[in-house]
Structure formats: C-alpha cells, structure tokens
C-alpha cells in the first residue's frame, strides 16, 4: 500500500518538455518529464516542439534518458515526430530508451492519416444531391405508406371472417390507452378552442350587429372542422408518437425479427390491433370534442354576449343539422388510419441507433399532423362539391 498516493491528483507532476542540443554532427533532442495523455495541451505543445526543433537537421537523436513516464499518447507524439522527420529526409535514432518504451513505440505508433478519405464534394454538388435525395425520399415514403395500406387492407380482409384470430386483449388495452386516457386532454383543449372561436366571433360580428350569429359560427365550424381537426392533431402527437416509439424500439431490440421467425406477422400482432383501436377511439373522441366545443361556446356567449343557455341551444338547433355533425365524424376514422399508418411505417423505419428512433418519432408526428390537415382540406373540397 505504501506506493499508493494519498490523493489521486492528475498524475502530472512534471510537464513534458524538449531541450535541443547541437553536437558536432547531430541534433540531440532530450525529452524530459511525463509524456502522458493527462498532460493534455502541454503534451500537445511538447509534441509540436519536438517536431519543429529539428526541422532543419540531417541527423536527429531522441534522448529518452530523462523521460519519466510515457503512455500511448506520448508514444504517438514521439513516433509522429520520428515518422515526419524521417519523411523530411532526416535520419532519426533513439538513445537511452528503456525496453518498455520500445514496446510502446512499436505497438502504439503513429499512423499517417489517409488523405483520400477526407475528400468532400463541392458545396453546390452537396446541396443539389441533398435536395435530390430529399425529393426521392418523399416519393419513397409515399410509396411505402401506400404499400403498407395495401398490406393492412389485405390482412384485414383475411382476418375479417376469422374473429377468433383477432387480438381482443391488446385491442381493448390500446383502446384504453389511446381513447380513454386521452379524454381529459381532448375535452380540455376543445373546450378552450370552442370558447376562443365564440369569443372572437362575438367581437367581430358585433361590428355588424350580428353577435348572435357567433352561435352558428361555433356550431358549424366546431362540428364540421375544428372538433375532428384538433382531436386528430392531438392524437397524432400523443398516440402517433407512442406507436412509433413502441414499434421502433421493438425493431431496435430485434423483437420484430423474433416475431417474424416465430412465423408471426408483426402486422397482425402489433399493427392491426393498434390501428383498429385508433379507428374506434378517434370518432368517439371526436364526439366528445364536439360536445366540449359547444360547451365552451355556450359559456363564452353567456358571459360576453349575455346569450342564456336556453337561447344558445335554440339558436344552435336552427343553425346545424345532423349532417353538420356527421361531416366531422365521417372524417375521424380516415384521420385515424392516416395517423396509424404513418406511425407504424415510421416505427418500422427505425435502425440501430437511439438517434434514428428520435428522428423517426419526430417525423411520424410531423408527417401525420401535415397529412391530417391536408386530408381535412381534401374533405372540405369533396363535401363542397357533393353539396353535403
């Protein structure tokens, strides 16, 4: 125990140094101190001076007699100087080295970097190639999702006549996770959205003396568009990300491969139950969202415009039909399919690293929110055309 120092200091007691001494026919560089990696930039400086002190010399001798310690990093600097001086035409030899120094210099020597691997393409070429790759990837992504949709439909048709093959337990579990547990947040944000739309409607329409029409505004806008849109966006963020992360980490840990070799189809075991749960949950949540938006509208029109609940309900009845409500509700299962499909394909895209999992979850959420809004726009055009 005697040799153990009481305090494990950084272990560098003498800094690495080089002293030059010219003899008659050679330059002698005497190395002193501790040439170890813990010396950090001092070691770097000593390594550089080892190289520069003997630039002009024809014959160089490295004197290691005064060297107190050397590790692999020290050996690398000494060997680098030796290799580069030799390359510059000097003859280099060692003096006063110990056997362990020899082993270190041999085992942990300098390897000149391979310059060819450091070639970068021109910035414009790199930019163009990045743009091209991105466009190509977008196309491939789209094909992937269509491909997946096809597989899901085929699997669905195959499972439809065989209800005993449906995985009811995971389906119910996912219905609880995606549906029931989303209820509080869906109610809250839709209540707020309904309230905000009504409040703005009252203020703006009051300029024309038509504040009462704010009820029609929140009724039509909320039921047709905002209820399903807000719910889908929330579910894309909350549930889409969860599906991607679950499937992605299973992919990372080879669990998906394990399923495949057991002759189980990940599509049937993992994705269909989630997708079905989502398709059931989203319309239910949309219904709740609609109710919450109306409640928000009712409260705000009572406070700001003095419209009593009885009057609000009366006006609402004259402003909307069952159709208004159904237009919103019909969209919900399609939104669910889009969110579920994007989340599942992104999950399957995950490769080995933690970074790729993060990237896929992000892209799953961004893509599904984007697609939800695009779909909503397409539905709006469709319903306008068929005059529903």
């Amino acid at each position: 125990m005697s040799a153990v120092s009481a305090r494990p200091e950084r272990l560098v007691t003498t800094t690495p140094s080089v002293a030059r001494e010219d003899s008659q026919d050679a330059v002698v560089l005497s190395l002193a101190g501790e040439w170890i990696v813990a010396a950090g930039h001092q070691l770097e400086a000593a390594g550089a001076s080892l190289l520069s002190s003997a630039k002009d010399a024809k014959r160089v001798i490295f004197d290691l007699t005064g060297l107190q310690r050397m590790d692999t990093a020290g050996a690398w600097f000494i060997d680098r100087a030796q290799v580069e001086l030799a390359a510059a035409g000097a003859s280099v030899s060692y003096r006063g080295e110990q056997p362990k120094h020899d082993i270190l210099l041999k085992e942990a020597g300098y390897h000149p970097p391979d310059k060819s691997s450091l070639v970068h393409p021109a910035p414009t070429v790199a930019l163009l190639s990045a743009i091209g790759e991105t466009i190509y990837d977008v196309g491939v992504d789209f094909l992937d999702i269509v491909d997946y949709l096809g597989e899901v439909v085929v699997m669905f048709l195959r499972l439809a006549p065989q209800p005993w093959r449906w995985r009811w337990t995971p389906m119910v579990y996912h219905l609880e996770m995606y549906g029931l547990r989303s209820v509080p947040i869906i109610l809250l944000i839709n209540f707020l959205v309904g309230a905000i739309v009504t409040q703005q409607g009252i203020f703006q329409l009051a300029k024309f003396g038509a504040a009462d029409y704010a009820v029609s505004l929140v009724g039509v806008l909320g039921l047709r568009e905002l209820g399903v849109l807000m719910t889908s966006i929330m579910i894309a963020g909350r549930t889409g990300s969860a599906i991607t992360a679950e499937i992605g980490s299973m992919k990372m840990r080879e669990e998906i491969d394990a399923l495949k070799v057991m002759a189980l189809d990940p599509l049937e075991v993992l994705i269909i139950p989630r997708l079905v749960a989502l398709v059931i949950a989203l319309p239910l949540l949309t219904f709740l969202a609609d109710v919450a938006q109306m409640a928000g509208g009712l409260l705000v029109s009572w406070i700001y415009a003095g419209i009593t609940p009885a009057v609000f309900i009366n006006r609402l009845q004259s402003a909307i039909w069952v159709q208004t409500f159904l237009v919103g509700l019909i969209k919900a299962p399609f939104m669910a399919i889009v969110i579920g499909l994007i989340a599942a394909t992104e999950g399957m895209e995950v490769r080995g690293s933690a970074e790729s999992l993060g990237r896929c979850v992000t892209s799953s959420v961004v893509k599904s929110i984007f697609m939800v809004i695009v779909m909503d726009g397409l539905f709006a055009m469709f319903f306008a055309t068929v005059d529903y």
């Binding site: 125990m1 990696v37 362990k100």
Partner: protein, 282 residues
C-alpha cells in the same frame, strides 16, 4: 509494473480493496461480507455462476450501484469519502468495457473513442483524430472503421471499439465485463491475445469478469470465484484446480473444463504448451 510474485500477494499494492461489502435489492442480499483485492499490474479473472452477482460487484465498484455496508477503496481512497474532484480523477484512471459495448449509438466510432479525451483533456481536433486512429490500430481495427456508426459494427468489432474507448485516457485499471462472450473461439482467442499484449505494453491492471475458461487459462494471473455471496476462493488458477469446493470442481472439471485439463497433468502446463507467448513472462 511490480516485481512481487503472485505467491506473496500481501506485499503487493492493491489498487482496489473491497472489505465486508454488502449489496442487496430490497431484502435479497447479493453480496454479504465480500472481500476482494485487485493488485497493480495483474490480470484478475472473476468467475461465478450466472446470476451470482459478478456484474453487480463490478457495478458496485464502479459506483453505479449503492452498497448497504462495507468499504471500497480505489487507489487507496474510500469511494464514500471522495470529493467530486477525486471522483473525476479516478474516472480518468479507469476504463470500462461494458458487456454490450455501450457505445454511444449516435456517434461514429471515431467520436466514441474521442469522447472521453474531448471531455477531460484540452486537445486539438487534429490530435484527437490522430489518437483515435492510433487506438483503433491498437485494438487491431482498420482506419476505415473510424467513420462507421455502432449499428454497422459486428459483435467482435463492437467489443474492440469499446475497448479502444476504454483505453482512450490510458487508464491504469481496465474493467472488462465478459469481453469474449458472443465471439467465436478464434476471435475470442485473438481478443485474449490483444488484452494480454495491451496489458504487457501499457502495464494495465485488468479486472475481467468472464465465463470463458480459455481466457482464464490464457491471460489471468489470478482468478477470484464468487459464490455464496462471498469470494470463496482467489489465487492462481493452478491452486484453484486443486480446490475441494464442489462448485469449483464442477466448474473446472465439468464437461467443458475437462477438455482443457486433459491436455496436460495440470492446467498451467496445458496452457503453457499451447500459448507460450503469454505465459513465458510469468
């Protein structure tokens, strides 16, 4: 590093000293009054049945798990009484090869090896690049490996890169958690040779958890056996072979051990004949 022979362990410098260690999860004790010494410059093989707590002990020494009682001294310092500064310095003096490699998955091999150097030392990027290539060469990997991501590496390469990272700060102690598990016998043999060579070259102290009997015979100076929540035996492998402990008997003389022994009258001779470079030194 030290000239003391293995037969007089009491005179050697213990870089890690564990006394009366008690570790448990809830009511279940995994270690109860465990003592262990790791001497400077030796390769200590650490064996025990699966689930006996080898990894738990390693993780406790490394400070990743909390102990319930006992003392652990590293470089003569009690780990409970270390200041944050001591902790930092100790962190620079040991390196760990985790069982699964534990490479940072979002960094390339080069960045993985540079990570400890970059965090602890003020070195320039060109030096870091050079040292990363040197460490790669040291563990026997070609320079092209440097720009690969951990997910693109095979099992053996992952172990080598992880070893290169563990060696980045030129540590004095290297912990190896099952370094040869999952490797084919040839790769495992190469890895043993590599560890042996590095240990000689760098004067490392090696703490190696292993199930690989070949590794034990080839490069370990001493073997410690974990059983019944304690170290039940520790010493050169030739001594352990003569032990009467039933678990040790079945470990070394069981189906898998007997092949090794049949090569010679005792294990040491068998190995000396097979792997002269490693044992010539001892």
């Amino acid at each position: 590093m030290t000239d003391a022979s293995p037969s007089q362990p009491s005179e050697r410098e213990a870089v890690i000293r564990v006394r009366g260690l008690k570790v448990g999860f809830g009511d279940h004790l995994v270690m109860d009054g465990l003592d262990l010494d790791l001497y400077r410059g030796e390769v200590l093989g650490f064996v025990g049945a699966s689930g006996a707590g080898k990894s738990v002990l390693t993780r406790t020494i490394l400070g990743l798990l909390h102990k319930q009682a006992g003392t652990i001294e590293v470089f003569g310092l009690d780990i409970d009484k270390m200041t944050p500064h001591d902790r930092l310095v100790v962190g620079e003096r040991w390196g760990v090869l985790f069982q699964e490699g534990a490479l940072f998955s979002s960094l390339t091999v080069r960045q993985n090896i540079q990570a400890p150097m970059r965090e602890h030392l003020g070195l320039s990027q060109s030096t870091l690049d050079g040292l990363a290539l040197q460490k790669l060469a040291l563990v026997g990997l070609p320079p092209e490996t440097a720009d690969k991501l951990p997910s693109e590496l095979s099992g053996g390469m992952t172990k080598r890169v992880s070893l290169a990272r563990a060696l980045a700060l030129d540590p004095e102690i290297v912990f190896l958690d099952e370094p040869t598990s999952g490797l084919d016998p040839i790769s495992a043999g190469d890895f043993d040779d590599l560890i042996g060579t590095l240990q000689k070259t760098l004067g490392l102290t090696v703490f190696m958890v292993t199930h690989d009997l070949d590794s034990l015979f080839a490069i370990c100076d001493r073997v410690a056996v974990l059983g019944h929540k304690k170290v039940i035996a520790a010493g050169p492998i030739s001594e352990l072979l003569l032990s009467d402990d039933p678990w040790l008997k079945s470990y070394f003389h069981g189906k898998r051990g007997v092949i090794r022994l049949s090569a010679g009258a005792d294990g040491h001779d068998a190995v000396a004949a097979e792997k002269p470079p490693q044992n010539a030194r001892r």
